[in-house]
Symmetry: C2
Subunit: 137 residues, 2 copies
DNA sequence: TTAAACCCCGTACCATGGTACAGTGTCAAG
DNA sequence: CTTGACACTGTACCATGGTACGGGGTTTAA
């Protein structure tokens, strides 16, 4: 069951142009074509697009996403490299989570101060930086 | 102790042009000027820049950062609005944390499969995504 | 008092991640 | 056998977040 680019675009809720753009960028495999030159996709294409969208929302660039998608286990080959990349990504993600948690705590303190009608510093959000500066970059 | 734009830029490790760009965008307060028109900054400017850089790494746009920096409690007035905004930001941050935690689990599963040297199907990341897709937006 | 090093402003340019448009070809229903 | 919806390519354009450049004034230290 081959899908046209339009069907894939609709299913994944992206623009047709975006799919072609990804193809040009190398994020998307070049699909088979009909004799007339129409692209033909399998169902997996939709999942791939959804993955890309999701990873983008999480702050990964297309370049990084391309790397993520490239991490596949091919019969033992290059498995070490794949694992190293993955573990590095995990570190980065973990650090981002920690930072966001710190920001959340700061915001919660601010909200609490607000409820108590206690005036805050000029810019309480900057507190998030205390003892924080050069961790993890 | 007033700092020149160049000193601030060096201390915060950003480009001078970037500071002026932030000023134009309204992210950065317009500083006092010397008679010759040179910008004069206080120490706080460096912290502010570092916060901006940091928040960007966490995936906030300059627009969002501007909103974050604007959150403060001013003698009772407009307190409700600030609290509402702050709680909304907390939601946003919490959702981002959840998304990243899910991604981390995904990556961990991939790394584990890799360690086991069990060659999986074409794209293990996609597989793990199947039960991942439309949660939480 | 002059050269280096800094600052000013305005404008142009860059990368990323798309999105639109023009001109053309294809397919399927009436 | 035509009309409308869709596809193709190529190129131009958009927003965001900067960065560089040109043409000028200022400060500082030899």
């Amino acid at each position: 069951m081959a899908l046209t680019i339009g069907q894939v675009a609709t299913a994944a809720d992206v623009n047709i142009q975006t799919i072609r753009y990804y193809e040009r960028r190398g994020l998307f495999p070049t699909p088979r074509r009909t004799p007339a030159g129409y692209r033909q996709y399998a169902d997996g294409a939709v999942a791939r697009l959804r993955f890309i969208k999701h990873a983008q929302e999480l702050g990964f660039s297309l370049q990084e996403i391309q790397e993520l998608l490239g991490l596949r286990v091919r019969h033992g080959a290059a498995c070490d490299a794949v694992e190293r990349k993955t573990r590095h990504k995990i570190e980065v993600v973990q650090q981002r989570i920690r930072d966001l948690q710190r920001l959340k705590r700061t915001l919660e303190r601010l909200a609490a101060a607000c409820t108590a009608r206690r005036p805050t510093d000029d810019c309480p959000i900057l507190e998030v930086l205390e003892d924080h500066d050069d961790i993890g970059h």
